[in-house]
C-alpha cells in the first residue's frame, strides 16, 4: 500500500486517492497548433524512476496533488498541492 501525505489531511492510504497521470505536462493555449496538443494529450515519456504525477484526494479533501514518486519502488519523495495559490498559502502557514 502506498501512503500519501496529503498536505491538507495528513498521511492516508493511496486507496483514498485517484491517480491522475503525468504531472509534468503543461497544456498548451487553446489556439495552439494541433501538434502541440497532440504532444500534451497523447505522448508520454513513461519514466521508470522518479516522476512527478497528479493524484486526486477523491475520498478526502478532493484537492489535486503533485506527487514525486518512484515508478519502480513506489517510494514517495514529495507531495505538494497542485494549485500554486493554495500551495503558497500552505507554505506561508508553516
Amino acid at each position: 500500500m502506498i501512503r500519501i501525505n496529503c498536505p491538507y489531511c495528513g498521511e492516508r492510504d493511496h486507496s483514498e486517492f485517484s491517480y491522475g497521470g503525468d504531472g509534468s505536462i503543461t497544456y498548451p493555449a487553446l489556439d495552439a497548433s494541433a501538434e502541440e496538443w497532440l504532444e500534451a494529450v497523447f505522448q508520454r515519456e513513461n519514466i521508470r524512476g522518479v516522476q512527478t504525477e497528479t493524484w486526486h484526494h477523491v475520498s478526502g479533501c478532493r484537492q489535486w496533488l503533485l506527487v514525486e514518486r518512484d515508478t519502480m519502488t513506489h517510494e514517495i519523495h514529495s507531495v505538494h498541492a497542485a494549485h500554486e495559490g493554495i500551495a503558497k498559502v500552505l507554505e506561508a502557514g508553516k
Partner: protein
C-alpha cells in the same frame, strides 16, 4: 529435434523417458544477424517463427534479457477470444483465433488450447442491446460463433453463478463466443521457441540490450550484456518496457504508459467451471476460468497507477476477491495459492502498435494493453509480414503511431486518452 508423436511418447515410456533431447539450442550470439528481434516473449518468439516459416528468412536472432516465458508470457490469465468490434481489431483478433485453432499441429507442441467458450455476463437491458450490436457486428464480419444467451440457457450451462434476485446486479443473460477459450501459456512460449529454433533461429537468453548505436537514419548496432550485435533489421517486441527501449533508440515519447495488472490462482479444485466467465458491471471487472490442474485462474482491474514494479497492491486483491464472491459465492472458502503482477504497455486508445518507425530499419511491436496473450500468434504473423515486406498489411494499417494525429484512434472501450481506463 525429436518430433513429438503418440509413438515417441509410447517408446520413451519404455526407455525410462531417457530418449528426449533439448527442445532448443543455447547458442552463443553471433556478431551479425540479418534480423534481430529484441524480446523473447510470445510476440518476439512468434515473430521469429513466422519470419522463418512464412517468409523463408534465415540468420535471425531473438535477444531476451531474462529467460523465455519469464515476463508477461507467464503472467497472464491465458484467455483467448476475438469478440472485437472495431474495423482492424476484429479482423486481427479473428485471424489470431484461427491461428490458435491450428497452433498445436503447426508447432508439433501441445499448447492445450481449449475452446471452452467465453461468457460475458449481462446485467441490464442496455448491456444486452450493446452486446447484441457488438456480437451481430462480429457475425457480419467473419466471426460466426457470437451468441446472446438468455437467462435460462446461461443457467443450464453455468449453474454455479449467483443468480439470486437479491444480488446487487442480478444476471439477465450473457454474450458468448463459443470458439474462445484458454491455452497453456508456458507451452505457447516453449512451442514457438522449439519451432523457431528448428528453423534456425538463434534464441539468446540472458542477453539484455543496454544501448543502441545509430548511423544516419537507422540502428547500426545493439550493445548487449553479451557483446555488440549488428543487424540489417531490428524489431522491438518488449511490451511493458517499450518506452525504455524506445528512448535507448534515441526517441523521446510514445502514446504508452506502463501499468501493472495482477492475476491470481487458487488451490486446485474438482471440476467446477467449464468456461471463461467475465463479470463487468457497476465498476466491477473480473474474469475467471479453471485450469487443467484445477486452480481457479482469475484477475480484475489494473492497480490504477503507473508502475514498472512486477508486484501487485492489496486494495486490488480485495477488489478482485469481492468480485469473485459476487458471482461465484461458492468460492468463499477457497484459498489463494499465488498472485502475481505483470507490467503492460497501456496505450492511449487501448489498441496496439505493429508498425514502422522513423528509423529505416527499426520496427515496433508494442502496446498490448490487456490483450497480449490472445494476440500473440497474429501479432507475430503480422509483425513478421511487416519486417519481411517493409510495409504494413492492410489489416494492421491503423496499428501505427500516427493514428492519433490522424484522428483515427481505435478506442474499443470509448474511454478516451487515459491509458489506465483501457482495461
Amino acid at each position: 529435434m525429436t518430433r513429438f508423436s503418440a509413438w515417441s511418447v509410447f517408446r520413451n515410456g519404455f526407455k525410462d523417458q531417457s530418449g528426449w533431447t533439448r527442445q532448443w539450442r543455447d547458442p552463443e550470439p553471433k556478431k551479425h544477424y540479418d534480423i534481430v528481434i529484441v524480446g523473447g516473449g510470445l510476440h518476439g518468439l512468434a515473430t521469429a517463427y513466422y519470419l522463418a516459416k512464412n517468409h523463408g528468412l534465415k540468420n535471425i536472432a531473438i535477444l531476451e534479457k531474462g529467460w523465455l516465458g519469464g515476463g508477461n508470457a507467464g503472467r497472464n490469465t491465458t484467455i483467448v477470444r476475438s469478440n472485437y468490434f472495431m474495423p482492424g481489431n476484429r479482423e486481427f483478433y479473428e485471424h489470431s483465433l484461427k491461428l490458435w485453432e491450428n497452433l498445436s499441429h503447426e508447432l508439433n507442441y501441445n499448447v492445450m488450447f481449449s475452446q471452452r467458450s467465453h461468457i460475458s455476463l449481462l446485467h441490464s437491458p442496455g448491456a444486452i442491446d450493446a452486446s447484441a450490436r457488438r456480437y451481430n457486428t462480429m457475425r457480419l464480419t467473419g466471426t460466426p460463433d457470437a451468441e446472446i444467451w438468455d437467462l435460462n440457457t446461461l443457467k443450464q450451462n453455468v449453474p454455479h453463478l449467483n443468480y439470486g434476485p437479491d444480488s446487487r446486479f442480478p444476471i439477465m443473460g450473457a454474450a458468448v463466443q463459443k470458439r474462445a477459450g484458454t491455452a497453456r501459456h508456458d507451452a505457447v512460449a516453449w512451442g514457438y521457441a522449439r519451432a523457431a529454433d528448428a528453423l534456425g533461429v538463434d534464441i539468446i537468453q540472458n542477453c539484455e540490450v543496454t544501448a543502441t548505436t545509430r548511423s544516419a537514419n537507422s540502428i547500426s548496432s545493439l550493445t548487449t550484456s553479451r557483446g555488440e550485435i549488428t543487424a540489417n533489421k531490428v524489431g522491438f517486441a518488449v511490451a511493458g518496457n517499450t518506452s525504455r527501449l524506445w528512448q535507448m533508440a534515441g526517441f523521446n515519447t510514445l502514446p504508452i504508459e506502463s501499468h501493472k495488472l495482477q492475476a491470481f490462482v487458487s488451490e486446485p479444485l474438482k471440476p467446477l467451471l467449464d468456461q471463461v466467465v467475465v463479470f463487468g458491471v457497476g465498476g466491477a471487472h473480473f474474469y475467471i476460468s479453471q485450469s487443467d490442474k484445477g486452480g481457479m485462474v482469475f484477475g480484475g482491474d489494473l492497480d490504477w497507477y503507473k508502475s514498472y514494479a512486477q508486484r501487485g497492491n492489496l486494495p486490488i486483491v480485495q477488489d478482485v476477491a469481492e468480485c469473485a464472491i459476487s458471482i461465484l459465492p461458492c468460492l468463499g472458502r477457497v484459498r489463494l495459492l499465488r498472485h502475481w503482477s505483470g507490467v503492460m504497455d497501456m496505450t492511449m486508445d487501448g489498441s496496439p502498435f505493429i508498425c514502422k518507425t522513423p528509423l529505416d530499419n527499426l520496427y515496433l511491436n508494442a502496446g498490448w494493453n490487456y490483450g497480449g496473450f490472445k494476440a500473440s500468434p497474429a501479432s507475430g504473423w503480422y509483425f513478421a509480414d511487416l519486417i519481411a515486406n517493409d510495409r504494413p498489411h492492410d489489416t494492421i494499417a491503423n496499428f501505427n503511431l500516427d493514428r492519433f494525429a490522424q484522428g483515427v484512434s481505435m478506442d474499443e472501450r470509448g474511454a478516451g486518452p487515459d491509458p489506465k481506463l483501457h482495461g
